[in-house]
């Protein structure tokens, strides 16, 4: 099953968050599965239409996802997914 790791910034809102192995064949399924483990976390990653938030990035084996609108990028059993926030600030 794909592995997913998330930025530690999200631990502020989901303190028990850590690397997960979840059943999913697309990024969208992965986000849904994550939300099952950590209710509400999907709303931090995607908007109410399921599109990736502007300042959130998802990488599959080091490559940024292509489909930001529907998160249809495919995953396989060995995919390693990393969910990060863009750096910005002040």
């Amino acid at each position: 099953m794909p592995k997913v790791e998330l930025t530690h910034h999200l631990k502020r809102f989901f303190p028990t968050l850590g690397p997960q192995t979840l059943p999913a064949t697309t990024v969208a399924e992965l986000v849904r599965a994550l939300d099952g483990q950590f209710p509400g976390i999907a709303g931090y990653l995607v908007d109410e239409r399921g599109a990736l938030r502007k300042h959130v990035n998802i990488f599959i084996d080091g490559e940024m996802v292509v489909d930001r609108a529907r998160l249809g990028d495919a995953l396989d059993e060995r995919s390693e997914v990393f969910i990060a926030q863009a750096l910005s600030g002040g």
Partner: protein, 359 residues
């Protein structure tokens, strides 16, 4: 007399409490997160905060125990068929206002949002529904962004004797009134001037920075915008400019009106639409006691040089003799004598977005 002050700031919700020696910082919540608006619901004492996460979207937080614990309430979602004026799918971009409903509607809470949304809850904020009557108003395609990329709703006036009588301020769109609880809306912009529009007297497209009503005389409304200070004495049917020549205030965002006397109002003027900083480097509050015919500048206790403060639309509040304002440079000033003299409470806060006194 007010005893608590909730500040929405760029770095969290900051709470001040009045003690024997004056106002003191009592707690900080959601530290580090921008809080676009925070308010105490006078009906049940619950605290509300709208969080504007740079990365993770807009969130709503509620505390039923005065900040000891918080729960995230599901943020409002635009319906699937909701399109912005530019035809793109509407998604929640900003929560500009949290407005508890009247005592006669215990579970009612309103949210003003970008793009152009008025959301309504009747279950204490557990769920919100878009007010379709306003969203589907044919003028919405003419609304535009004002300070943000998309139009936003920042003001709501609920008539104290008729909870179905509502008035909203849209930037940029104008002033809209509903007499049937939000099903049908009509623009109320006659007499306003919008010099930034091709037709300054157009019905749609105005940028009313904030609309407030006198609680005991709700037919008297005040607003300040890019083109002056305006007042209506007939519930918005007709507005009249009351920003006179000379020292009278013209440009600014915030306005407070007396709870009893509809002729008394306070504003924090800025130098001009183009520059948006304190006039001549000094901070002042303008007040009128005659409905805007004459104005006085209140400066006692306020610094008179080196000020770059701007006070946003929700950055000024009044309750009884207490007036308070917070600025973009993190300064917080309080007056206990209706603005005649001021005292600095803090000069080290983050930029302040909202200032709300509670009982």
């Amino acid at each position: 007399m007010s005893s608590r002050l909730l500040l929405g700031t760029r770095k969290g919700l900051v709470v001040y409490t009045r003690g024997p020696s004056g106002w003191r910082l009592s707690s900080v919540h959601h530290g580090g997160n921008p809080v676009s608006y925070a308010v105490e619901d006078p009906r049940d004492g619950s605290w509300w905060a709208a969080l504007d996460h740079g990365h993770w979207g807009q969130k709503l937080q509620r505390s039923r125990d005065q900040g000891r614990s918080w729960e995230e309430v599901k943020a409002p979602a635009y319906p699937e068929d909701a399109l912005r004026g530019d035809g793109k799918p509407a998604t929640l971009e900003y929560i500009w206002l949290i407005a508890p409903g009247p005592a006669s509607q215990p579970g009612r809470i309103y949210l003003g949002t970008n793009p152009g949304g008025l959301f309504v809850s009747d279950d204490g904020g557990d769920t919100f529904t878009l007010c379709r009557g306003l969203w589907d108003h044919p003028s919405r395609v003419q609304w535009s962004g004002g300070g943000k990329d998309t139009p936003g709703i920042h003001s709501l006036v609920i008539h104290p004797n008729d909870p179905d009588h509502l008035m909203v301020g849209v930037s940029c769109g104008g002033v809209f009134e509903s007499r049937d609880g939000g099903q049908r809306w009509a623009p109320r912009t006659k007499g306003l001037v919008a010099s930034f529009l091709p037709d300054p007297e157009a019905e749609i497209g105005h940028d009313p920075h904030l609309i407030v009503a006198c609680p005991s005389r709700p037919e008297v409304l005040w607003q300040q915008n890019h083109c002056g200070v305006f007042r209506s004495v007939d519930g918005g049917a007709r507005w009249a400019e009351v920003s006179g020549p000379g020292a009278a205030p013209r440009f600014g965002f915030a306005v407070a009106v007396d709870e009893v006397n509809p002729d008394r109002a306070w504003l924090v003027p800025a130098v001009s639409d183009e520059r948006r900083m304190a006039a001549e480097g000094g901070l002042s509050v303008s007040t009128t006691a005659d409905g805007g015919q004459t104005w006085r500048e209140l400066r006692v206790g306020l610094p008179q040089e080196g000020c770059f403060d701007l006070v946003y639309r929700h950055g000024l509040d009044k309750r009884g003799p207490t007036l308070v304002f917070g600025s973009t440079t993190g300064n917080l000033y309080v007056s206990e004598d209706e603005g005649e003299s001021w005292a600095l409470v803090s000069h080290t806060l983050a930029p302040i977005y909202s200032v709300r006194l509670s009982a």
